[in-house]
Symmetry: C2
Subunit: 648 residues, 2 copies
Amino acid sequence: MAEFTVKFDNIPASVIVEAGALISDAAKIAGINILQPCGGQGRCGRCAVRVLSGSVHFRSTLRLSDEDVANGYALACQTVIGGNVLIEVPQQEKIERRLVTDRTAIEVSVPSQYDPYNDQSIQKLLLTLAEPNLEDQTDDLNRLRIAIKQVTGLSKISIPLSAIIKIGRVLREGNWKTTVILDIHFNHEDNSEEAWLIDIFPGHPLDEMPILGLAIDIGTTTVTVWLVDLFSGKILSQASLYNQQISRGEDVISRIIYASKNGGTVELQDLVITTINDLIETVCSDKNDQSYKNENIYTPTIAGNSTMIHLLLGLSASTIRFSPYITTLNQVPMLRASQLGLSINPSAVVDCLPGVASYVGADISAGVYSSGMDHTDMLTLFLDVGTNGEIVLGSQEWLVTCACSAGPAFEGAGVASGMRATSGAIEEIWINTKTYEPTYRVIGGGKPRGLCGSGLINLLAELFMTGVIDKGGNINSHLDSPRIREGKHGLEYVVVWATESQNNQDIVLTRVDIDNLLRVKAAIYAGFSVSPDSVGVRLADTEQIFIGGSFGKYLNVEKAIQIGLLPDLSWDRFRFLGNTAVLGTYYALLDRNAHKHIQDIASRMTYIELSADNNFYEAFVSALFLPHTDLDRFPNIAQVLDIQKGDD
Amino acid sequence: MAEFTVKFDNIPASVIVEAGALISDAAKIAGINILQPCGGQGRCGRCAVRVLSGSVHFRSTLRLSDEDVANGYALACQTVIGGNVLIEVPQQEKIERRLVTDRTAIEVSVPSQYDPYNDQSIQKLLLTLAEPNLEDQTDDLNRLRIAIKQVTGLSKISIPLSAIIKIGRVLREGNWKTTVILDIHFNHEDNSEEAWLIDIFPGHPLDEMPILGLAIDIGTTTVTVWLVDLFSGKILSQASLYNQQISRGEDVISRIIYASKNGGTVELQDLVITTINDLIETVCSDKNDQSYKNENIYTPTIAGNSTMIHLLLGLSASTIRFSPYITTLNQVPMLRASQLGLSINPSAVVDCLPGVASYVGADISAGVYSSGMDHTDMLTLFLDVGTNGEIVLGSQEWLVTCACSAGPAFEGAGVASGMRATSGAIEEIWINTKTYEPTYRVIGGGKPRGLCGSGLINLLAELFMTGVIDKGGNINSHLDSPRIREGKHGLEYVVVWATESQNNQDIVLTRVDIDNLLRVKAAIYAGFSVSPDSVGVRLADTEQIFIGGSFGKYLNVEKAIQIGLLPDLSWDRFRFLGNTAVLGTYYALLDRNAHKHIQDIASRMTYIELSADNNFYEAFVSALFLPHTDLDRFPNIAQVLDIQKGDD
């Protein structure tokens, strides 16, 4: 039998393998650890390597794009060595990043037409004032106002006491030359432009004074902050942290309940402000020998769901919880950063983007803008599933939106072995069709501790597709597997035995868990069904489906369709947009027109209150099955199920 | 010789006196202490009593008004008993109050046309909002805005975060009935009306909720606060206290210097805020079993000189001190009470009245308004001498204003035995024309400790009119009196020997003191001279002279003319208006139109900067004599001096 030499670019020696060997076999011989979380079934795509030279034969390129294949990528577990080859093994991290990037994040680049002088609400003015004398005793404040008006044409200029206190010194220190930072905004109350003075400095400093802004997305689970140079538009650094409020409740409802307790509102406000301030410290700290001063951050633009915005402002949000689900506000009035305790320039005007309703917040207004769906003539469905699920349907013509109380099951809450998508969570899982034995991939490697959202979706899909559970979610007790057993709360499937788990406890999925998950996916799918109905279009006509939010980040479309969470449409219609909220916030931070546009989107979106909608309830009940009561809605899944039936 | 029976209403027995006896003689016999600080010369008017029945003959009614005489008042030292009489001796306090009232305060009554619904900037709205439902999910804030707009027509409504935080609870607690307190103001920046929401309450309370305001005058020496019921317009209570900043400097210049030291600005701000808060506590505390809540004070209207306003806001005011004497601001932007730490409703908008220049502040704008001089066709001169001297000349046609750095000499500072007008200060003094021995009246009775402003003016006039000093202020060493002696700093006059003084030290007036006082009076008189010149009218044409400020309170016109501090015009042209600043502030507090009017006055007044004016310097030098270099300007004094010459 022929033998081939296999050289890996990251070790000195090469190895010899027999013809017919897989790249993964060669790696094993070479002592190179290539992760294969799906057990070498070619289903997870995580063992991708690059063939730099030599001949190989693919068994499968599932999980690789055409572009990947063109660039020489191959799945180590599915590629047969056909000659002497040189293989590049991307570092595990690198693979992950590539895959993550492919599936979730769109490249964030400064908009090509960005013109800080026209687009920015933050303007730096270099003013030279006439020096006062005995014939012109105009007071300092008025002298400054007149000079600003001459340059900007604005007569409405709000100047905070903190700036007034230093005006006298600053003007004289700079010998009547001064640099002023203004925030110029459109006032929606009376359709006028007005300026807020943020800071004032003596003279016209020669060295470039950084003009910085923040794009902030306050998620129920994760808070993200981007530090942006407002002159170049470039993102200088990014950071994310868990929202420290998590310790006071996993989802918005439990937060609202906590807030309604004595002192709870203030405590939750403190926690989210602390989270943001921690992130600000991170994004401002040394990066390539460059650090930034908090005082040079002149505007924070903030998105978040309505509850998060309420808690940021210290509002109890209790009315969001009960019918008729009313917010205290969807549009936040002008506030200075010092009023909230944000550690940036204390006079910066806090710019909270507008929300639509109790369960469709500013994160969605911003997300819709960044997705571009309001600019396309293609019928587009926008789904943001984080701790909650929000759906927007439409195009440049119209936009309807609704929210389904997805609940935190996909965040791991309310599920026996559920956990958040953090170290120790099973995020991908495959079940052997014959033995029903699972293989899985754990975030951070090591022993598993539980199942996160994507792991749960995977598990549910695999259990269904392998026949462990039926379309009603019932576990098949007749299968010959020790993993199917009677637990405390009925039948359950053991994913990980206690001996193999981090905390020496079985990791299981119970019948109760399955019901919880079915309710969540049914609520979201019902949202998909009702939105098109409400405007007389068909879900199947949706030309593109945008998935945003933290949930979309690791979502496996195939699995999500298999359980009926996503509609059964051609995969190429799905686009994972990552954190659309922070992206939209970034655009609003850069460009006053984008900001106005987001305002328009918020007021244009027609909100459908699903809790009052009988059609929603019917759609929900129909969707409580795997993938759905009506298999005609899932033709591709039906086909696979048919084939499997044929196999049996 | 005939004898008459004299009965005093405050003692049981009566006394018998011979014909020709004075009431003061009878009082002495009866053991009744009637103060006669001028030594029974009939010059001070402080021994006034009331003749209830019986016949008397007046030697003099100088110091009594026709009305007083009609009401039976008589000077005990100048009234001869002509039959059996019944005499009422007013309590000393009562006399003082009556005299003080006569000479200084005008009766403060609510303007007759006052209509809180039209005039008040503070409006209480009783709103009934539509209850939200699933078809109308308008957020609370917007629902409230819409309701306010329906009633007021205003779309610009500034709502503070502190109110937003409670909106949700308040609206529901009141079952969608709510009571809102608005402050509706004219915005001078863009000529529009806008509303600031101050507070919001559930329901439409049945019991009357007091709507209160404060009129505050921040003087360099004294701070005055009036608590006003904004619905009736009535002054509920008044209180005054020394400005606690006094301990950090007697006059504005020394305060500015103190403020420029490290932490000084904040310290002075704290001191004046503390003073105001102490006064608020006083005016709100039990009065006739009625006390008021600080939270029900919805607006403070504030006047003060420019330095006082700067220090209130925490501005250093250092530029006020040096040429070209520029303020940081004359017009204070909108601030909430919480920003300054005033102990009233934290959302109340602090309304500082507008000033004109560094040395013509809001106290003058308000004072001019309350004097009514801008509404008369009579040429009017308005003088406000407190720690500084401000002069306004004009009528409804035009107004010019200037400030003379009077300095604190008349407040007792910079004078060897000077002190403020407080207990122990000599406030009136008479010198015997033959013996040069003084008699005097001490504030609070008891032994004297020093000389206050009015005492100094009296002393200077008496010394001049009795020939102890000449027109140049030189002390005549040839007079036969032990009180004229050579002191450490040249000749001096001993007012009180150490044995008779409170602190066992001689109370003296030195040549240096005289020069200081001459400079102050010359500065003020020069202001009188230059203001008419600058607009081509003659000082003698002035039809009325209004004297405001704490200084005017006890000012003796006769004495003030004798030293050339006031122009030698017929006494009936002089009117003492008391604290014109707080009165104008009260009117502004009541009436938006009065407020606008004060704004107009501030912008209409033409400010003359005297420090740059050669004519002022010349007028100043000419006025450095008693009463003046040019005796033609003081015809009445010249006549008296001629008579005295004839007597010699």
